[in-house]
Symmetry: C2
Subunit: 169 residues, 2 copies
């Protein structure tokens, strides 16, 4: 049985801040700003951000890349006794990767009404038929995490609008 | 709108045979024998097999590795107009990766009653709330695909039994 790490509010705040720093880095690279970190023994052992466009890789979500980096750091596919912090509610793929890597607890920021598989469309991490279940803490720094995404998409819409106006001139 | 490739029965048989060859390769490396291939323009553009134990990577399922290889081959995260063939019903993670990569059609062999997310536990690929849906063909060479897995687990059980008997001597 995996131990679920316990954190103070300050630690939770700090680890989500680190995930937000990763998300901002993604945004500065032209990627949808989503970031994740994985913590073991109160230390961040993996940091990652969305890299889909740059890598042209459908699987390059922040959580998946963080899990792979943590597997590498731990030299084990089992990430028992760790915690994942991510700025957006995980999708099906990432929820599945969390289960497959046996992470016992996750903290996430903004809700994803369109694709979230943890609370929104599905509650995959709490399925009693599976051999692993995950403790879920939603809504950590959700305003900041959500605002980052909103600003990113607003900027994209504005760019598209300007391009269209220029073409019509 | 992605075109869904259409195959003859013979092609379907051949592509699943290629996935089975990958599965056997996994088994010969001590991995759970699961294999996958991705087809584009009637050609296999990616082949992969389960590599979890050797890589100590929780995400190293056959489908996920095949998708990443196909992204690389196509230089695109979008795998429209392709088809995935896999020997076992995909789990949540791999079903999510199929959606994230926009693969329009999959063929799979054996059913996974404990973890399958395509027909068994969930029907994730047919969710009308998502922005992508996948045509699903289950049960292709299912006896052969399933037998490979059963033989693998029987051998493991036999080995454990022999080790136990030796220890008790």
């Amino acid at each position: 049985m995996a131990n679920i790490p316990i954190f103070s509010d300050e630690q939770i705040n700090d680890f989500m801040q680190a995930a937000l720093d990763e998300a901002r880095q993604a945004g500065s690279e032209g990627e949808v700003p989503i970031g994740a970190v994985i913590v073991h023994d109160n230390q961040i052992i993996a940091r990652a951000h969305n890299h889909r466009e740059q890598g042209q890789q459908a699987t390059a979500h922040a959580e998946l890349l963080a899990i792979e980096a943590a597997n590498q750091a731990a030299q084990s596919w089992r990430l028992e006794n760790t915690a994942l912090f991510v700025t957006l509610e995980p999708c099906m793929m990432c929820a599945g990767a969390i289960i497959n890597s046996r992470i016992p607890v996750i903290y996430y920021g903004a809700q994803d009404a369109k694709g979230g598989a943890v609370k929104s469309l599905y509650t995959l991490l709490e399925d009693e038929r599976l051999n692993h279940r995950v403790e879920v803490h939603p809504g950590i720094k959700s305003d900041e995490c959500g605002q980052l995404l909103q600003n990113f998409f607003s900027e994209i819409r504005l760019k598209h609008k300007l391009v269209k106006q220029l073409k019509n001139k």
